[in-house]
Amino acid sequence: MTVLEFSAAVGAGSFVAGLLGALTGLGGGVVIVPMLSLGFGVDIRYAIGASLVSVIATSSGAAAAYVREGFSNIRLGMFLEIATTVGAMCGAALATRLPSSTIAVVFGLMLLPSALASLRSHGERVSEGEPHPWAARLRLDASYPTETGERPYHVRAVPTGFGLMWVAGVLSGLLGIGSGAFKVLAMDRAMRLPFKVSTTTSNFMIGVTAAASAGIYLGRGYIAPGIVMPVMLGVLAGALLGARVLMHARPKALRIVFGVVIAAMGVEMIASGLSGRI
């Protein structure tokens, strides 16, 4: 295989990843690392570096869409970014110290609950009652638009949410993913935010989190231009098409397929890591 063929194949695979990510709303990041390491035999460090770059690219492209609707809680996102960026730096530092096979196993372990998460549906909730003292101090409580006007909500468990965001950052820095699903889970379950607020605020944070570890990866030589170039361009093209094809719908069937695929990848990554193949 020549460099040209390799680039074309990686570009095509990344295109599919970007397309799926945009259509399911789950992001293509989790697919890129297994695709490169399992599919193309690329060393996992190069794969993670490339995936991290693709996460920044897609989140920057998608950012405008979420902002306009008025759901994302900018103050909350900015406050939580303190935790995610520090976590990302910790994750990147960890990545430079762990052997590839360990990272592969951790990656696979991360994929399994992600697969489950893509299969579950979310109910609407309104959180009323007393505000959390931190939420009041930091003015985190806000409202979101509904057909009947702005509906206020409270932010709960702020310290816990902050801690979980640090973990999300570590995962992002260690595995080259956006950790969007983890962030949404933390905001949805622990901080009890309305679902659309969780998803839009999470998207707001993803690019910044990834940027916090990308510089370190670049400096460590984990980012190979020959790999990142087709990945970045492929994912962007795929995400662009995905956004056009399906504006706001999140087809359930596609999420189920996605969930099954990444579950399979998770098992494969764990097996490869344990057997030393990665």
């Binding site: 020549t2 460099v3 040209l4 680039s7 193309f40 035999g41 690329v42 060393d43 190069y46 770059v53 920044i56 690219a57 920057s60 492209g61 950012a63 405008a64 902002v67 306009r68 008025g70 994302s72 809680n73 900018i74 103050r75 900015m78 970014e81 303190i82 960026t85 520090v86 990302a88 730096m89 990147a92 003015r139 409580d141 806000a142 409202s143 702005e150 206020p152 690019g207 910044v208 990834a210 940027a211 916090a212 990308a214 510089g215 370190i216 670049l218 400096g219 460590r220 030589g221 984990y222 980012i223 190979a224 231009p225 020959g226 990142v228 170039m229 087709p230 970045m232 361009l233 962007l236």
Partner: protein
């Protein structure tokens, strides 16, 4: 209770729309540079065999800002790609800086400070990495 939509000329909504435009503009610009670098890279190395199975790390000159800029100016494909990536990484960082300015214009001292803290963390990370 405050809502996320502020008041005055720099309402949160208008600010975020500007930030969205900044992000997409930065993305487009960096993608164009990566594409150009990619074309040069493939033209020169397209027929070679890729060797990414073993991790050797990228050459030192492509890991620091000074080396990357130098390589890009020399018209090296890989240098241009790395430069494009640097710009891509800088885009969300610029976004945080922009948000800090927006908070300052709203006279929100607490969140100006928070945004500046996040910015500081990002700049430390960048400096640690690529100098």
């Amino acid at each position: 209770m405050r809502t996320v939509h502020g008041h005055g000329a720099w309402s949160a909504e208008r600010t975020e729309r500007a930030i969205g435009a900044l992000l997409r503009g930065g993305l487009l610009f960096s993608a164009a540079i990566v594409l150009t670098g990619g074309a040069l890279f493939l033209a020169r190395h397209g027929a070679a065999a890729p060797s990414y199975r073993a991790f050797r790390g990228e050459p030192a000159d492509l890991r620091q800002v000074s080396g990357i800029v130098h390589a890009a100016l020399e018209g090296r494909g890989r240098g241009l790609i790395q430069l494009g990536l640097l710009l891509l990484i800088a885009t969300p960082i610029a976004r945080v800086a922009f948000a800090a300015v927006a908070f300052a214009l709203e006279s929100d001292r607490l969140y100006t400070a928070i945004a500046l803290l996040v910015l500081a963390i990002l700049l430390v990370s960048l400096r640690t990495g690529v100098g």
